[in-house]
């Protein structure tokens, strides 16, 4: 089997030109879809018969929580790819993705707390989802802190890849240990997101919002990767040409 495509993918210059056309259209369309989903969900979707209007926060909370986990999965896979095939693009991806994932986890935490205040009457409950989201947020902050502390680029790249990979291995264990700990200590709390029957009028806008979030994040990551590539390759002739031709982004 030929791995040539992988190494082509690993060339930052090739990646820059390949992703050049994609980043901004993806970002803009993601934003549009997200706005549609949010307006639909916040203004037109029916309210919940138990929780009233407060349930509308799921249109923000659920996509952010999903993204926070997906981003970590992507980080871990990128870490593995970067370590095994020594691909520069993987490190650039981790750099670009970690802060986005952290923001998503933060949004999920804040919206979860607000929702908790209306549903449970407390800003924070040691619920399994919230707790594992808090741990996830800390994992993201660890990666970011490590990247910022190590000044040598090659070392920072490799270290971030290592810790992302460890996180990927450990995240399921952490998550299930927390879920299990939660059942041990609280008995059955009613879960908010596992509603058995959510009517289509509610899950459709949710689906739109989730898709919008995903597309938006993909576009944002590509965009961030491009600017990181330009910075890292700033001494090369192709970047100098690129910048003199198109100006600074």
């Amino acid at each position: 089997m030929s791995w040539a495509w992988l190494h082509k993918f690993g060339s930052p210059k090739w990646f820059f030109y390949w992703s050049y056309a994609w980043a901004r259209p993806l970002f803009v369309s993601g934003l549009l879809v997200l706005v549609v989903g949010l307006i639909w969900g916040l203004a037109f979707a029916p309210e919940d018969y138990q929780q009233g209007n407060s349930v509308r926060i799921i249109y923000l909370h659920v996509p952010a929580a999903m993204l926070a986990q997906s981003c970590y999965l992507a980080l871990g896979i990128a870490g593995l790819v970067g370590l095994v095939w020594r691909i520069k693009t993987a490190a650039i991806f981790i750099n670009a993705m970690a802060p986005i994932g952290a923001v998503m986890a933060f949004i999920a935490l804040v919206t979860g707390a607000i929702w908790g205040k209306t549903a449970w009457g407390a800003w924070w409950v040691w619920d399994a989802r919230l707790t594992s989201m808090l741990v996830l947020f800390l994992l993201y902050m660890g990666i970011i802190a490590l990247q910022n502390s190590l000044e040598e680029v090659a070392l920072a790249d490799k270290s971030a890849a290592v810790i992302s990979l460890v996180g990927l291995i450990n995240l399921p264990i952490i998550k299930y240990s927390v879920v299990w700990w939660n059942t041990l200590h609280q008995g059955a709390t009613f879960t908010l997101t596992d509603k058995p029957a959510m009517p289509a009028s509610m899950w459709l806008p949710l689906l739109v919002a989730v898709i919008g979030f995903y597309v938006l994040v993909v576009g944002l990551v590509l965009w961030r990767m491009q600017s990181d590539i330009l910075w890292r390759e700033r001494r090369t002739s192709w970047v100098k040409q690129e910048v003199t031709k198109h100006g600074v982004y």
Binding site: G142, S149, L155, K158, V162, L165, V166
Partner: protein, 220 residues
Amino acid sequence: MTYTSFMRAQYAVLWRSKQDVLNALLFFVIVVTLFPLGIDPSPAFLTPAAGGIVWCATVLALLMAIEGVFKEDYRDGSMEQWVVSGLSLSLLVLIKVMLQWGAVVLPLLVMTPLLGQMLFLPNDDLGVLMLTLLLGTPSIFLMGALGAALTVSLKQGAMLVMLLILPFYVPVIIFATSGLQAAQAGLPYSGFLAMLLAMSLLSLVVSPFLSAIAIKASVN
């Protein structure tokens, strides 16, 4: 350099730096002491909380002990010699961590019955607590060593190691304290011990290998 000469040298260095080990143990005692002082000294609080208190103190003390474990080797250039020795870097890391584990955890286990008395832990549960420590601490050490390897090139890395590695300790702490609670409630607890052993074995597979990668990237 051979594996045996490496082990001898590390052992000798460890013996000459016993004060560091002692500091970690004293830190452990101080953290344990803070709980009754800060929360409640009555047996009604301390008996059920003892396992959690001992485990939190253990995790913090062990992380303090392991956080700088490679710093001196990095500074004096012997880490470069590990890399060029032609020996397996993962195995060297494992030897070093396991020696450190023996030096810190064995005295800590000896002290645990005393602290158990201070925390009003019933004697029947003491054995379970010590078993959880014995089975869980290898994982704590191995993951801590990974954090130490990742930050070895930094002058001040203790806080960063805490931030990086503490989240990974969540399952170990949960399984250990739940095991003790199960034992206190008269329920079977062998499953928890098995989980702790599994965590330690997983760390044994993952940590030396990845620590070696981190060390190789750091000595550059």
